[in-house]
């Protein structure tokens, strides 16, 4: 690794076991399920407005629901088939939300104009910045690292702000997950074309692709391919969680800090995940809306782990059945990675645009242990990449002292979970810090409105 100069963020961070069990498994196409369940809200913002009704026949790539307002995203059909019903279906948050249930036909019939071939299209000459952003918006692209913030909003630079660097997030610092890693290996050129499209959309001449040093093959391949393009470089980063956190990544690469309460654009940076970048490539060059994504299915006891290209709306249960069913002793099913993913109470939950992985955990490896008193060991303070004092915020949140929690900057928590991970007393620091963060943020919003 000595050939790279590794960068990282300066304060905090932890080193959970990487467990990248699926790093060597090539992306497979997941078969069409017997039903797909497509939520109207798979993004941060307003749910999309439904355009179809039961018994309608829809084609693959057809618009099912239209974005409402600026912060929202279009929803497309991931299959060809008949709308079976509109129903309330669980999503990753654990709540039932409106979804369109479609019974697929065995053969895809794509909406005309969509290029479904795997041929590389690299000539981006003809598109203007406005056209690219419009195509991204039409395609319903959202941040695919898990945040699911509508991408066209991030690409529309507010008046008075200027972007001078685009950062492509290929860090994938969550243990177990390998979908971004595989994508970088298998769709290298496409990601670079996507990067160029994003650079054009943002009108910047500098892009840095950040990749953690535990993926030397991806670093090598991306570096080699990036040589062709001026302004695009690959930066290797130290293996440290949460290296892929937006603020931590910007700090590592540029030395700039997103101000407390601010956005990356305040310091001239925009960050996009490699999965999103690939989706941008497909949307602009192939006219293909966001109807499928790469999902890592993994777990220590699973025989058939893998990285699958899954149609949006495929039930988690179908995927688990496909790889051999829930192994004996499974205690938790996590959508996403083990540090920030969401535990689902049911397998009857569909893959959404932000589902990067399905992780099956053994009961004994994930069961929480008895909570002991805080011994002020300061491990949480040392681990927090945001410079917070999680032990203090937890004690304030337990007692509901929100003004002090605001003074302690609970609102700056990025919910990486490093504090809970290291606590020798097994204290639920992240639970309370998250609670404090949300409460303080809503108080701050209410105060602003006045």
């Amino acid at each position: 690794m000595s050939e790279y100069k590794l960068l990282t963020f300066p304060k905090g961070g932890v080193h959970p076991p990487e467990n990248k069990l699926t790093a060597d498994l090539a992306i497979e196409r997941f078969p069409l399920p017997s039903k797909v369940y497509i939520h109207l809200q798979q993004h941060i913002g307003v749910p999309a407005q439904i355009l179809v009704k039961p018994k309608d026949r829809v084609r693959t790539g057809q618009l099912l629901a239209q974005a409402q307002g600026f912060v929202s995203a279009n929803i497309h059909s991931s299959v060809t088939g008949t709308v079976f019903k509109i129903d309330e279906i669980y999503d990753a948050s654990g709540y039932r939300k409106t979804a369109i249930v479609i019974t697929p036909e065995p053969e895809d019939e794509w909406v005309e104009g969509i290029d479904t071939s795997d041929d590389l299209k690299a000539d981006i000459g003809q598109f203007s910045s406005q056209e690219i952003i419009q195509k991204v918006k039409d395609a319903g692209i959202v941040g695919m690292g898990g945040a699911t913030f509508p991408t066209h909003v991030k690409l529309s630079i507010p008046d008075g702000k200027k972007c001078d660097i685009l950062i492509i997030n290929g860090v994938e610092c969550e243990p177990y997950l390998t979908s971004d890693h595989r994508l970088m290996l298998e769709k290298t050129e496409e990601i670079l074309v996507g990067t160029r499209l994003l650079m054009k959309a943002l009108n910047v001449d500098r892009a840095v692709i950040g990749i953690e040093a535990n993926k030397p093959d991806a670093i090598g391949k991306m570096t080699e391919a990036a040589k062709k393009y001026e302004g695009i470089t690959v930066q290797a980063l130290k293996v440290k969680y949460p290296q892929g956190g937006e603020k931590q990544l910007i700090k590592a690469i540029t030395g700039r800090e997103v101000p407390s309460g601010g956005l990356p654009i305040d310091i001239g940076a925009v960050v996009q995940n490699v999965g999103t970048t690939f989706a941008v490539y497909e949307a602009v060059m192939k006219n293909k809306p966001l109807i499928e994504r790469i999902v890592t299915i993994t777990g220590k006891d699973l025989d058939h782990r893998g990285n699958f290209r899954v149609r949006i709306g495929t039930m988690v249960k179908d995927i688990i059945d496909y790889v051999g069913g829930l192994p004996e002793g499974t205690g938790k099913v996590v959508l996403g990675g083990p540090m920030m993913g969401k535990a689902t109470k049911t397998l009857e939950v569909p893959v959404g645009k932000g589902t990067s992985g399905i992780l099956l955990m053994r009961r004994e490896e994930t069961k929480r242990k008895k909570v002991l008193p805080c011994i002020h060991c300061a491990r949480c303070v040392t681990a927090c990449p945001q410079g917070l004092e999680p032990y203090l915020i937890m004690s304030l949140a337990e007692r509901g002292i929100w003004d002090k929690a605001e003074e302690a900057h609970a609102q700056d928590c990025i919910m990486c979970g490093s504090c809970s991970y290291v606590c020798p007393s097994n204290r639920p620091l992240q639970d309370y810090t998250q609670f404090a963060r949300n409460t303080v943020m809503s108080i701050m919003r209410a105060r602003k409105k006045k």
Binding site: K11, S260, K332, G341, A378, H409, D412, D431
Partner: protein, 336 residues
């Protein structure tokens, strides 16, 4: 549901390499070489004192939790055992059993449980017990068996003064340090631990080895030990340079008394020390200053216990003014 799944907030994994019990065990293991060495030096007395202190500390914790506070005793977190062991390290090997029982009762009952138990105490419990004993039993607590002399004797062991005591008494009587140095062990003997004193004040070498183990296990950081020992060395050295006949040399300052034990094992107690590196350095600096002040101008020949206890009281204040910088707030560094 056919198979109930666990649901909780993230994170879903936990670092099990550190638990409260494991941390306490590590500190006990780190102390073990010095404990065994004290058995070798002081024989049966050291064994009795250590066993009684550890057993009684655990017993008091169990009794107080169960019958006074009416809650589940947590003796298996090993924190009470550690307090007992640390207390034993801080007393002479000929201390009567009943005094040890009083000492551990004060340490656990007053020093720890009265504040709410583990994690709540403001002062280091073992030092609370030790200082209580020093004030209550001044004679017994300052009669030091001579190492290797009477290993088969307990209460009737042959006693002598500590190096610090010899110097303090001598300087007070107007004697010169250069003359007094002949009456005490050499620096090398002190480093290996052949001198009078409490059980755990002996081998600097073994205490440092224990400290290195704690650093490797990431139980403690270097800040507190280095700042205490460094400050005692520098401040002591400054005085020595000013008047070498009145003040002992800096190496003597750090090798004698409880400096090593206090700096590595007592002041680093999580609950009663600051959270941030800068806070720890400030904490250690003032302990070092106080140690030398008490030694040179106070009534007692040794001041480590008092210095740590005094600074324990300042920990909330230090924590308040040495908070880590929140990401994205003032003091921005250079950009590119």
């Amino acid at each position: 549901m056919e198979n109930k799944l666990l649901v909780s907030y993230s994170p879903h994994i936990h670092d099990d390499s550190a638990s409260v019990q494991r941390i306490m065990l590590d500190v006990i293991l780190a102390l073990l070489p010095a404990v065994l060495f004290s058995f070798y030096l002081f024989g049966i007395g050291a064994i009795i004192v250590t066993v009684v202190a550890v057993a009684s500390a655990v017993l008091w914790e169990w009794l107080i939790a169960k019958y006074l506070l009416k809650r589940q005793p947590q003796i298996w977190d090993l924190s009470a055992a550690l307090t007992g062991l640390l207390l034993a390290m801080n007393v002479p090997s000929n201390l009567p059993v009943w005094m040890i029982l009083v000492g551990t009762l004060i340490a656990i009952g007053v020093g720890k449980m009265s504040f709410g138990g583990l994690g709540q105490n403001i002062f280091n419990p073992a030092l609370v017990g030790r200082v209580f004993m020093l004030i209550s039993f001044p004679v017994a607590m300052t009669s030091w068996p001579i190492p290797l002399k009477s290993r088969m004797h307990y209460l009737d062991a042959v006693t002598g003064a500590t190096p610090l005591g010899v110097i303090k008494e001598g300087v007070r009587n107007g004697e010169k340090i250069s003359d007094l140095m002949h009456q005490i062990p050499s620096h090398m003997q002190m480093f290996y631990g052949i001198m009078g004193g409490s059980l755990g004040e002996m081998a600097a070498l073994l205490l440092i080895l224990g400290g290195i183990y704690l650093l490797i296990r990431k139980v403690i950081t270097w800040h507190i030990p280095v700042s205490i020992i460094g400050t005692v060395f520098l401040f002591g050295g400054l005085l020595w340079l000013m008047n070498p006949e009145k003040y002992p040399d800096p190496l003597f300052q750090i090798l004698t008394g409880g400096v090593m034990l206090g700096a590595i094992f007592m002041a680093t107690d999580y609950v009663s020390s600051p959270m941030t590196p800068i806070g720890k350095l400030i904490f250690g600096f003032f302990i070092g200053i106080l140690v030398v002040i008490i030694r040179e101008w106070g009534a007692y020949p040794e001041g480590v216990s008092f210095a740590i206890l005094i600074m324990n009281a300042f920990v909330p204040l230090i924590d308040k003014y040495t908070k880590p910088r929140v990401f994205g707030t003032k003091k921005m560094k250079k950009q590119n």
